[in-house]
């Protein structure tokens, strides 16, 4: 991509994100017009207190969380698909999402329910970090593992984590805890606050920025290990670093949002179909696409269904799956 078109795409993406924020701020139980929304945004002090609270304390942090999580998962999904050379790779493929889920469900069972700010995300992140650490040890001691084996290692982590989660849920003290756990597992952004933004922003911005610097390595790795090794990439080390960073970013995202697997699997494919597979283009556009997609999915989850509760993760799959199917079949026919 030439420098000029990169700037143009960057500015366009930024404007699109801002427009989505404003649009999304207006939607919800308390309906606001776009004019009112802008008024509250730019003239916060003179706004009516309830409207000010709705926009600044409830909706804005939630939208920013959605964007950070979406950008993180889509970027990591792209990275996983490149280094594992597998179109079914998604952010949780190494087992980190499952690890995060164990942490979160354990915290819920111990009583950190509802709006508990730090308990559940921190426990979830600890679970994801534990799985990342195990993965690191395995990759360091068995440097010869192929991509298929790494995927199977992730499958066994996930199976193990799934068993632990089932055990925790079966032994729940109260039914309400089971409901909370299931709610978390489906991925939702209800009641996300500035605390969650704070928790997310460091790992996501740092991790995603780092991944953006590895575009040549990702291009080379997507051509296979032999080619990567003769294209200036220290394959073993690069793969360990990328998998670790990707896992930790996923861990941070999932810790705050719950398991929203669809974004990381599908957004990279959709973007790839449209702009091609060169990572210099694919990676930033996936990040923006993921942020837009999840923010819009969350807006729908908040606004469109009235009394029916629909979670963000559910909307992401409900809306995303048909769009993806369309793109997929359209490409096959052309």
């Amino acid at each position: 991509m030439s420098r000029k078109s990169a700037w143009a795409a960057g500015i366009f993406g930024g404007l699109l994100l801002l427009a989505t924020i404003v649009l999304s701020l207006a939607v919800g139980v308390v309906d606001l017009t776009l004019g009112e929304t802008l008024e509250v945004l730019f003239n916060r002090s003179s706004a009516e207190p309830t409207v000010e609270a709705v926009v600044w304390s409830i909706r804005l942090p939630r939208i920013i969380v959605a964007m950070l999580v979406g950008a993180a998962l889509a970027t990591v999904g792209t990275v996983m698909q490149a280094i594992l050379r597998n179109p079914l790779a998604e952010p949780g493929i190494t087992g980190v999402s499952a690890g995060a889920a164990v942490g979160a469900v354990a915290a819920i069972m111990l009583g950190a329910t509802g709006s508990a700010r730090w308990g559940i995300p921190l426990a979830a992140f600890a679970g994801a970090a534990a799985v990342s650490f195990l993965l690191l040890i395995i990759l360091q001691t068995r440097r010869d593992l192929g991509t298929a084996t790494i995927i199977l290692v992730g499958v066994s982590f996930s199976a193990l984590a799934g068993a632990i989660i089932n055990m925790l849920i079966a032994n729940a003290r109260e039914d309400s805890l089971v409901r909370s756990a299931l709610f978390w597992l489906a991925g939702d952004l209800e009641l996300r606050t500035w605390d969650h933004v704070l928790l997310l922003i460091g790992p996501v911005v740092l991790g995603v920025t780092f991944l953006f610097t590895r575009t040549h390595a990702l291009d080379a790795l997507s051509l296979g290990e032999s080619t990567a090794a003769t294209s200036g990439i220290n394959v073993t080390r690069e793969r360990i670093v990328l998998l670790l960073v990707a896992s930790l970013v996923t861990g941070a995202a999932v810790a705050v949002s719950g398991v929203i697997s669809f974004v990381g699997l599908v957004v990279p494919h959709a973007i790839r179909i449209v702009v091609g597979a060169s990572h210099a283009r694919l990676l930033p556009l996936s990040a923006v696409g993921g942020a837009l997609f999840l923010a819009l999915a969350d807006t729908v989850a908040r606004g469109a269904f009235g009394s029916v509760i629909v979670q963000t993760g559910v909307v992401a799959a409900l809306v995303g799956a048909p769009i993806f199917l369309f793109l997929l079949l359209k490409r096959q026919s052309s």
Binding site: A220, S231, I273, S278
Partner: protein
């Protein structure tokens, strides 16, 4: 056998093997090999299936196969080179030609140019595609190409890397007669530019005609190296492949091998 022993005139551009052998599952695949390749060499590596041609090439390129011994480009040991540095010295066409289906041809070829940190990767990619006669594929997506086109595009990527040592693992396995000739000519061009090409080949006639030296790997670990007509003799080929052959020479001085 004529193993080159003369001093290398331009030391920095010779490739020296010192007791080198690839290792798979803890054992060496060939007897340790010592030889020196001069700029302008096209070395054909031949031998029966499973004898370790690909492993030999991958070990040489440090592409995931272990080895013993030392290979030097001039006085620099491949083993102690950083991956980034090695990418400016050796490029590899492996048998794994797969790439993401949505990758555009020019982007794929530019990966080779970027690997060697060439200043203008896009122009280098375009030139390499033109050299291979497939410039018209430039904007196509990799997944839409035929098997032969994929091989030509991957070859362009290797040539775009513009390294003094070029390793090709069966570069013509998917190619028609015309494009086999294109690849032979490309190897000649590299040779004329003073580069060293090492290519695993199955077609002994192709090896005979396009290589300046042949390395024949035998299944018992033995290897023979020398000029094509010296190494591709009927008795050595029979020992390696168990097939009887005859070398014919035409009135124009061209040689070819036939089996019976």
């Amino acid at each position: 056998m004529t193993v080159e022993t003369r001093p290398c005139p331009t030391l920095a551009r010779c490739i020296n093997f010192d007791s080198f052998a690839a290792i798979r599952s803890g054992r060496t695949l060939t007897n340790p090999l010592s030889l020196r390749l001069f700029p302008g060499t096209v070395l054909g590596v031949v031998g029966p299936n499973g004898v370790g041609k690909s492993s030999f090439l991958s070990a040489l390129a440090h592409a995931g196969v272990e080895s013993i011994g030392v290979v030097r480009a001039g006085d620099r040991n491949f083993r102690s080179m950083r991956a980034q540095h090695r990418a400016s010295t050796v490029a590899l066409l492996s048998q794994d030609l797969a790439a993401p289906g949505e990758l555009r041809v020019k982007e794929l070829v530019a990966i080779g140019a970027r690997a060697a940190r060439r200043r203008n990767p896009h122009r280098a990619a375009q030139e390499a595609l033109e050299d291979m006669g497939v410039a018209e594929l430039s904007n196509r997506r990799f997944g839409s190409l035929s098997g032969g086109q994929k091989q030509l595009v991957q070859l362009s990527r290797v040539f775009a890397q513009d390294t003094p040592l070029v390793i090709l693992d069966e570069p013509t396995s998917a190619l028609d007669l015309y494009h086999q000739k294109v690849v032979a000519e490309a190897m000649q061009t590299l040779r004329n530019r003073g580069k060293i090409v090492i290519a695993a080949l199955h077609d002994l006639n192709y090896a005979l005609q396009s290589c300046t030296q042949i390395l024949l790997l035998d299944s018992d670990g033995k290897s023979h190296i020398g000029a094509p007509l010296e190494v591709l003799q009927p008795d050595l080929i029979h020992a390696a492949y168990g097939v009887q052959t005859t070398i014919h020479t035409t009135e124009h001085g061209h040689s070819f091998i036939s089996t019976h």
